[in-house]
Amino acid sequence: MLRTQPFNRYTWAVWRRQALVWRQLIWSSMATNVANPLLFLFAFGYGLGAVIDRIAGLSYLEFVVPGMMAYSAMFASSFETTISAYARFDLQRTWDAILATPVALSELLLGETVWAATKGMLSAISVLVVGWIWGGVPSTGGALLSLPVVALACLCFAACGLAATAHARSWEFFSYFFTFWVTPMFIFCGTFFEIDRFPSFVQWLAWLLPMSHTIAIVRPLMTGLPLDEGMAVIHIAYLLALTIAAFLLSVHRIGRRMFD
């Protein structure tokens, strides 16, 4: 399925196309991917922070910054490979045009995925910087250490979004994606509350979602809470496996839709 090396100059050409378009539409991109999570951060930091005294031994701001960082990464990466990518696939036929060049499908989709992850990282870093300035990041070193994990998570969210796009037959399909995939990750995976506050079946479902695994590593790193190394390996392995599975499924499925 993947006959060439993973990230080559063809993938890079696709990535650069996305970056160019992004640069041209930078203000609206910034509004969605940077301002939006910051609004959430302020709302929850101030609003809930005033009500909630301590949570897991942290101030609520310290608790919510890693959650918001993961949420903004998830939202930006997911949006890019679903709504935006589906426009290029179905409406604009950009993928058709690109596949008439030497760029192979797997390279095109990897370019899309890595670009989406790049946008997710930009979003995450914005939240991190603001949270840090605001005094919501107790461990600066841990925060920096968490960035590679967030990058992997971004790839995972992007690949999962792409797998959804591979199955989408119309725009309506994405309302399911956002209702049953993005929103549960926002609510149940530890962004605002600890997962163990939910009934056990919700917890069980939450651990199927990549967001829980992301926050489970990122929050201890950024706040200085203890991190079980064995569990960290499992979280990372889960994210990695899901990324690869979702990406391969996307290549297979989109290949069948486009070439058969």
Binding site: R9, Y10, A13, V14, R16, R17, L20, V21, Q24, L25, Q92, R93, T94, D96, A97, I98, L99, A100, T101, P102, V103, A104, M258, F259, D260
Partner: protein, 297 residues
Amino acid sequence: MPIISATNLQKRYGALEAVRGVSFEIESGACVGLLGPNGAGKTTTMRMLMGLTRLSGGELKLFGRPVDGVARERRARIGLVPQDDNLDPDLSVSQNLHIYGRYFCVPEAELSKRVPQLLAFMQLEERGDSRVMQLSGGMKRRLTIARSLIANPDLIILDEPTTGLDPQARVLIWRRLLDLKREGKTLLLTTHYMDEAQRLCDRIIIIDGGEILAEGAPTDLIDRFVKGHVFEVQKPIPDGLLVGPAEYEDIGDSILFYTATPSQFAGGLPAGATYIHRAANLEDVFLRLTGRSLREG
């Protein structure tokens, strides 16, 4: 050595057989027209050549090599002008060319030279900074053709390059295609305009129902299938005409007679018969071979 050598190409979509056993060869430097009604299998055939649609059967050689495993090299040497506009609406006119060139890994310095050249070639030099949305249909077509040339391809495949354009835009595109032919490029095009095919193509392949019906130079096809001359005789048809040696076809209000000896045929028409005599053209061939009933789709 032929640039394209297709043997028994087949494409099935479920129960639908879009292409059933098409074989042809295209030699280097030729301009070949693929003609057929809507749904005849033209676009599918072109997509198979580009590797954008998998073959259900048959064998395809491009540039003398079987296509399996040379997808990248094949696409690097072919420029495609698809039927539906798929220019990048997020980019400007010159960015469309520049970014497309990167997909072929054309070096940046080379692209900076080539983009203005191509814009000038397709008379778009004033529009380099325009958004694609702001272009007229003719300009979009010209830009799509310019885009197909960005990596200096040997073979250019054009799917209905002039459909929906005004006569001025069509003439400009014809001139440019003839320029490309003169440069030694190989062209394969589809069109619904028979005058266009007759003017541009050295060879015509007429396809319908996924099969090739006829193939040859435009003048050969006209001589072979419609004898060079057409007499359109209004009904009622005088007695005796239908048993004569000329081939004919009933088209409703009148009957078309095809003949290679027009003066002899005209002499045989009774006084008072209402008719039009004209040189036969490719449209006559096309309608004769593919039928006159309307195609949907």
